[in-house]
Symmetry: C2
Subunit: 581 residues, 2 copies
Amino acid sequence: LEILYDFTAEPGNNELTVKEGETITITNPNIGGGWIEAQNSRGEIGLVPEDYIEVKQKIAVAPAPSVGNVAAPDLSFFDAYAPASTPAQNQASNGNDPWSVWNADPSGGSSNNWASNPEGTQTGKSAAPDPWASVSHGHPQAYQGPGADDDEWDDEWDDVKSTGGYAESETGEGGAMQRGGAHATSMKIALNKFPGFSKSGPELYLLCKQLAKGKDRLPIYMGEVGPVWFYPETQLDCVVADPKKGSKMYGLKSYIEYQITPNTTNRPVNHRYKHFDWLYERLLDKFGSAIPIPSLPDKQVTGRFEEEFIKMRMERLQGWMTRMCRHPVVSNSEVFQLFLSYKDEKDWKTGKRKAEKDETVGVMIFSTIEPEASDLDPVEVEQKCEQFSRFTKAMDDGVKEILTVGHEHWKRCTGPLPKEYQRIGKAFQNLSSVFTSSGYQGESTLTDALTAAGKTYEEIAQLVAEQPRKDLHFLMETNNEYKGLLGCFPDTIGVHKAAIDKVKEGDKLVATSKITPQEKVTMAKRLSTMSYALQAEMNHFHSNRIYDYNRVMQLYLEEQVKFYETIAEKLRQAHSQFTTM
Amino acid sequence: LEILYDFTAEPGNNELTVKEGETITITNPNIGGGWIEAQNSRGEIGLVPEDYIEVKQKIAVAPAPSVGNVAAPDLSFFDAYAPASTPAQNQASNGNDPWSVWNADPSGGSSNNWASNPEGTQTGKSAAPDPWASVSHGHPQAYQGPGADDDEWDDEWDDVKSTGGYAESETGEGGAMQRGGAHATSMKIALNKFPGFSKSGPELYLLCKQLAKGKDRLPIYMGEVGPVWFYPETQLDCVVADPKKGSKMYGLKSYIEYQITPNTTNRPVNHRYKHFDWLYERLLDKFGSAIPIPSLPDKQVTGRFEEEFIKMRMERLQGWMTRMCRHPVVSNSEVFQLFLSYKDEKDWKTGKRKAEKDETVGVMIFSTIEPEASDLDPVEVEQKCEQFSRFTKAMDDGVKEILTVGHEHWKRCTGPLPKEYQRIGKAFQNLSSVFTSSGYQGESTLTDALTAAGKTYEEIAQLVAEQPRKDLHFLMETNNEYKGLLGCFPDTIGVHKAAIDKVKEGDKLVATSKITPQEKVTMAKRLSTMSYALQAEMNHFHSNRIYDYNRVMQLYLEEQVKFYETIAEKLRQAHSQFTTM
């Protein structure tokens, strides 16, 4: 097989660097996600994007293995979720945890982004990578190859390219950027769909002649805590479950399909990861200027069919869906409802095309917002905005600190600590064996007790190694989710700040006849609407935050109590075996 | 001040290398133990043996500080015993523990000694360092200087040099060796006091014309477990307490005097460390061939008056005395009784001189032993000896393993682990502060609870750091004591093996007329006596071992249970502060 393009391996990803024209041998075609495992002439084995290879021998390709019968992946990622029976033995690799790739730079690289780029998207950097992209690593190279991603977007009943007004976002330049950045979060706010908009920022909304009419009005009420979205009486919810492997192209390509069951219809629908990704793109396009739409869990290319990975992704997709369901605006949107409760393939396709044609995207979402309260003064708007900016930045730091500390703790609890308890246990047992060999009569009570004590410490080693999955895991997942959410705020707030600046320019714009005095008044009014939206969103965020942290801290402490009680009880039993003298 | 001799600093001991003729400035004359702190011309500060210095300005020397008002020593030794209030803050140095200097090479350097030198003292290595000397570090250099040790052996009422038959052991070559090796344990068995003995080994006893008569007979009975010493009805015991600082030479020299109260007279006597050392030498001379006499706790030169050090040394002197009191032969000896219950200084001096003149030392101790059972076959003697050798070697390995593992655990518990819990605690508290700044109403329940949870983890950090002193300390002390005891066995067993070999040579010796046939019979009989002594001693060892390990394991597990229960309870309280939703 011949290499069509140069490919440089990303360190630590089991990839293989290949040169154009090089000949390689496929060692495992069933990696999935656009990757194959290959061996070069020097005998080195690694992953190569399959689109970089001119496949001459399709016949030689083996059928895809079924789920549950896959080769064990050698990624350290999975070791943190290795079978519970041997955590303490797998010291070398057990220190890794699923958060290592998201582990934030504690020195606060993001602080600089917050500080140095307060203007957000207005500075023409809207196509730049996520300010926190450094904490999110995918396999971007895999998506840079010519047509490398095409297959990810084709499947049996979804192969007709959309032809709507903004369909180029899927295959054109915009789409390429989206995939190139994998999940570069909200920087993908669809500002660039409107000619010249990426430079003009929020004035598209601030100065537009006519606000959208009819359905999809988003009212904002004054609640006890201030401006709030309209909350439905029953909260939407859904269950993501039952991941099933599917394949196409005679087993060459395979994927996982998840079953999603909303509490409204109670009827399950199936979606692949790429459909979630499609939904994410739509929500980001539509709501991203007003509502932080957190990224999906990272695309993990290698080992995509490993059971533990699937379980982990499902758990995170569930977390993402739950968060979206809880959002009164998002959950009530047509595109979200379509995703959860389309009736058949035709319904899905129709809805999909319609969603892609939606023009109320980007800052235009504000045109649908209707606050019930009176207009806010721009000074007050700015103060609120500054406050939210400070808070989200501070919380982002706090959350990252917990992730860093938790990551360290995870490593210790699954690495050196159980190893040490195991060594203590072994030392007691060894001494017990020596004592048994003494030939002195009547010391079996001591040696039995000493052996039991040793075994107890080995059990403690295991408890210690398993504990993080029972408590720290959820603390980490919650904080990781919040890191994702908080990572959206710089963009959301950036749009807001750009609008504030535009309104501040109002007099000058009138003086230079760029806008009419009436337009200046309209701008201030619309800025007030934007502020209400931001406040409603912040209040939604706070209320969820209080709920989430209360819940996760309770769970964490509950499990920690159980953990220490279990150890105390085990030691109490070990103690009771020694003779009282 | 001028340097009289070259002195090379021992790494890690805060010492200062100085050259003959160099000029230094005294920065602290009150270090004690024959050391002063000085600064050289390059500004480097460190400890120098005071006898290496020609003091020209005695007037400039400050009076010794009183106990409790000493400058904090900078030896890491003490950090493990630092005030309990700040264990978690002293991360850098807290990792050290008092066992670091005794920490055995886990790869088993001693195994080689056991294996490669099975002949023990017979090979002419009786003056060689302790086979386990590598695990015992003093400040040997301090004792190598000319006359450096003289003062240690002079005091107000003990300044008359002994003039008895073996008095040269104190100041002559033998004495120098003893001090040079600090506590090189039983290698100091006084074989070299008898001309040519170091080569002939146990034959002094095996072939001596007449056994000692009269008092001090040491009977051996047949007990349930085999040969046993005669045990008194009430066991001797004593309390080492009330360390008091004394000084002489106008405060230039100071020392600590301990009060020892035996349960027999209930009348306290005072002794300095050097008196314990004198007792140790006497016991080693007298009983060392038959009974392992464990070394005293190491001489610690620097920081000798630091409170924690004094406490630690007292604890270990107490342990040593308790062990000696428990031994039926040692505790009943005249020299031991003298030490515990001399009436006045005259009584002490007289007894001291008498003890130094005792001729029933070295292998001659066996001449006082009277087994009640019939003679053993040399083959059986050898089998028993091999068994004891194997067991003590194996137990030595087991004990060292526990010390190594315990040392590691001590470091973790006082170093990185509490630091991590502290960071977790801080992270929770920081997040709580951020939440408090949200401006969102009604989240004080969450923020209070989160702060409390954070403080709980800080408390846990402290508990973790303090715990080793409550449980691991005693486990380590017991095992350290046993390491010392087991370190005596190669010599004791070596004497035994040398005797076995001599008896095996019996026929050859008769054939070459080196001994008479009658002497050959006597040798076999006396070897049997030695074997009974060794068996009685092993049975004593086993019985003590079972008692000691039972007790220390109970204490350890009891404290461990309390520790984990305390943490669980603290976490339960922290948990209860979160709102139930």
